[in-house]
């Protein structure tokens, strides 16, 4: 084990012991291979069961690609959620532009991928950065629950999601589910900030309201406000709670 990997593992064990346990003995499947690139840093190639090969990072210059992905982040946010870490090039590229206090929530679906990243990327500094949280293969609801418990509405309403698209291609169901949970928190919180009367629906989140809310979010222009929809949600809430 080289010194960089040693430090990565030490920091992980100290700060994220549960994740360390999760990845400590994970076998690297033969479908996962680190592949050298002309830029001098490796990329990660994964063979899918369908016979496709997906490069999680550029096979030419993974660092430059990471910088381009990070540059596409919106300017104003107070919480960054990264869906798909791979070898962390895009994550490390995004960090310098973030305010020091901005929390970062990292989600990786595959423990084997994290294991390989620990072996080739310097991650100790990232893990030690205040406000970093790491999830590996956790249930989407658990991630959403963490957001609810650790971040108030005013932070959630300003969260940004950095989606690593190749990772999403590799585990579409998992990242899709996490994305929906996360983005719902943001949009609920956003609406709550703009429309305090919605608090009872959003906080209670009775299942029917959540379904309706998702439908509305897909239909209403962003920033349009809920208007009449808020009134109909009030009616739904009253009908739900009334006796017969």
């Amino acid at each position: 084990m080289n010194p960089q990997t040693h430090r990565n593992v030490d920091v992980l064990k100290r700060l994220f012991p549960a994740i360390f346990e999760k990845v400590a003995d994970v076998p690297i499947p033969p479908s996962h291979r680190l592949v050298p690139t002309p830029a001098g840093v490796p990329t990660l190639r994964v063979s899918t069961p369908g016979g496709r090969e997906i490069h999680l990072h550029s096979p030419v210059d993974p660092r430059r690609e990471g910088e381009r992905i990070a540059a596409a982040l919106p300017g104003e946010h107070r919480l960054l959620v990264v869906l798909g870490c791979g070898l962390f090039y895009h994550v490390l590229a995004a960090l310098p532009a973030l305010p020091a206090a901005e929390p970062v929530l990292l989600v990786e679906a595959d423990p084997a991928v994290l294991c390989m990243a620990l072996s080739c990327t310097a991650l100790g500094g990232l893990f030690e950065r205040p406000g970093v949280a790491l999830f590996v293969g956790d249930a989407p609801e658990a991630i959403a629950d963490y957001l609810d418990r650790h971040h108030p509405a005013e932070i959630l309403s300003k969260l940004a999601v950095l989606r690593h698209l190749p990772a999403g291609e590799l585990s579409p169901d998992y990242y899709g589910a996490v994305y929906r949970e996360v983005i719902r928190r943001r949009d609920y919180a956003d609406c709550r900030m703009r429309d305090p009367e919605l608090a009872s629906f959003i906080n209670g989140c009775f299942p029917s309201a959540a379904v309706v809310f998702d439908e509305l979010l897909a239909r209403l222009p962003r920033g349009a406000g809920l208007g009449e929809a808020r009134e109909v949600l009030q009616l739904m809430d009253a009908l739900r709670q009334d006796g017969d």
């Binding site: 009367e197 009775f206 299942p207 029917s208 309201a209 959540a210 379904v211 309706v212 439908e215 009449e228 929809a229 009134e231 109909v232 949600l233 009030q234 009616l235 739904m236 009253a238 009908l239 739900r240 709670q241 009334d242 006796g243 017969d244």
Partner: protein, 549 residues
């Protein structure tokens, strides 16, 4: 407060058939008061068809309340469809908007809907600008406040009359409206003939079930009752109810000793209109406090209504003269929660077979105008300890009045009554309110004098007989006093506050009167009438002198 005549009026009373029927006299009054206005009713869709035939309505807005509530509570997958249905309902209530909404439902959903519909004037429960529920008219606000303080409305006013007071109407005919088409009535008659039910004796209807468990009649009691009706009284018996209740009817039939040819089980075989058609052919309906009892009252059939548990006959007794209510008259009645009753619902003794059969005999005596037989029956063992009420009408207000048969046998088979001289309701806060108050106070004074004179002469029936009208009149006084607090009125400083103090004193006094009547505490009642009520009347009359319009 409504200024000018409303062109579009919406009445909201969405669920329970009996409750919906109880607003039909108010709707009749609205039709007479505003003959050219568009009059609509919002109801649960299951009841819409029968309301479509109400001649006083221009529009019936059917709304699947039960289904949507179920979806929202338990089936999130369909909630987007439910959302769209609610949105469409809201659009319908807003385009074009109603000028006046009278919400006679006390549930939250209808209050939110009333608020969102955006009518120029609202009566009943709605949502205020502060987001809290409120009662938008002084009558409803007063009743809710009194109910909160006393547990029940101490004015002893039937919900039908309260609705009319809320709307400020007094129809020329005070009767529930439930039209049955001639063809349907004829089909019901044919069904009875086909079953060889010929009118050689009385036809009795029985509704054994009820939508709420505590209102149901027991099969054992009913089997004994049916034996009595078909045997001793030589009648035929029709069972009414839903398809799911049919086994109850079959269980009763299985316990009978009389021939089953005397029974026709119609449970689950009638729609609402046919139910009305069959009830109209009955001489008497025996039931608990169910929607069917109100349908019977609407089609002019007398009823024997067993009232117990949470049911409060002074509010929900069948509307119209000639009905008998057996009341589980205990200190705890009406109870808050029959499921937690520590006394195993002792009030249910009104359901004992011998009580019901004696009740039928009492009803028959009253219907035949036989006051002597009625007086004898009320003292008979099966009816001892049971509250006995007989519906009639108040000679003063025309409202439904419940005569306590323990204290008085009411005028039987009354001829044209003094109701032609109804005191019409006055718009709250109107120019006539002051003179109306003086009239009411004068009336109360006369009743107090008569009552005290009766007690002094040892005529307890006379003394107690004056109490109900006094409650009626005080109830109206409370409403008029409430109108003095309304913002639209130009009152001298301090008057609304003074009126508020009067209302508080009145509430306390009424509470004392009710307790004294309940305990039959003659001394306490006389004390209140002679010592407390006199000064309060004088004080109030003096206070009115300050008011100038």
């Amino acid at each position: 407060m409504t200024h000018g005549k409303p062109k579009r009026i919406l009445v909201i009373r969405t669920h329970r058939m009996g409750d919906i029927l109880q607003v039909t006299p108010m709707i009749r009054g609205l039709r007479e008061k505003y003959p050219n206005s568009h009059l609509a009713l919002l109801v649960e869709e299951a009841f819409a068809e029968v309301l479509q035939r109400n001649p006083d309505l221009d529009e019936v807005i059917a709304f699947p309340r039960v289904r949507l509530a179920g979806v929202i509570r338990s089936d999130a997958r369909l909630s987007w469809a439910a959302y769209r249905e609610l949105r469409d309902l809201l659009h319908r209530l807003r385009t074009p908007r109603f000028d006046l909404i009278i919400n006679r439902q006390f549930t939250d959903f209808e209050a939110v809907l009333t608020s969102l519909a955006g009518a120029a004037a609202v009566r009943g429960k709605t949502v205020g600008a502060d987001g809290r529920f409120r009662y938008a008219d002084p009558v409803t606000a007063r009743v809710v406040e009194q109910t909160r303080q006393f547990g029940r409305n101490p004015a002893l006013k039937n919900l039908v009359d309260l609705s009319m007071e809320v709307a400020g109407v007094s129809p020329s005919v005070r009767r529930l409206v439930f039209p049955v088409r001639p063809a349907v009535a004829a089909a019901c008659e044919k069904r009875l003939r086909d079953h060889e039910f010929v009118q050689s004796g009385p036809f009795y209807g029985i509704q054994p079930g009820a939508s709420r468990g505590f209102k149901k009649l027991g099969s054992g009691a009913l089997a004994a009752l049916v034996d009595h009706l078909a045997g001793k009284r030589g009648g035929r018996v029709l069972f009414f109810g839903t398809r799911s209740e049919r086994p109850l009817g079959e269980e009763i039939t299985g316990r009978l000793r009389v021939g089953r040819g005397a029974i026709l089980n119609l449970m689950g075989e009638t729609n609402l209109e046919e139910l009305g058609g069959f009830l109209a052919l009955c001489d008497l309906l025996i039931t608990g406090d169910t929607g069917t009892v109100h349908v019977a009252a609407a089609v002019g059939t007398r009823t024997l209504c067993a009232s117990y548990g949470m049911t409060y006959p002074y509010e929900t007794a069948p509307y119209g003269p000639g009905h008998v209510v057996l009341y589980g008259d205990l200190p705890c009645a009406p109870c808050d929660d029959p499921d937690r009753c520590a006394s195993d619902m002792a009030c249910r003794r009104v359901l004992a077979p011998e009580t019901l059969t004696a009740g039928v005999d009492l009803q028959a005596a009253l219907a035949a105008g036989d006051a002597r037989a009625a007086a004898r029956l009320r003292e008979a063992a099966p009816l001892r300890g049971v509250g006995l009420l007989h519906t009639g009408e108040s000679e003063i207000t025309g409202d439904l009045r419940l005569f306590d048969l323990r204290r008085e046998i009411p005028p039987l088979n009354p001829g044209p009554s003094a109701r032609t001289a109804h005191i019409p309701p006055i718009e709250p806060g109107s120019q006539d309110a002051l003179s109306r108050l003086r009239e009411l106070l004068g009336e109360i004074g006369r009743h107090v004098e008569t009552s005290l004179a009766g007690f002094a002469a040892g005529e307890k029936e006379t003394g107690f007989g004056e109490i109900v009208p006094i409650f009626d009149l005080w109830s109206q006084v409370m409403g008029e006093l409430g109108s003095f607090g309304e913002e639209e009125m130009d009152l001298p400083p301090g008057v609304p506050e003074r009126m508020s103090v009067f209302r508080t004193d009145l509430l306390r006094l009424l509470q004392g009167m009710e307790q004294a009547v309940t305990r039959m505490d003659l001394a306490a009642l006389q004390d209140i009438l002679s010592v407390e009520m006199g000064p309060l009347l004088a004080d109030l009359e003096e206070g009115l002198e300050w008011v100038s319009f």
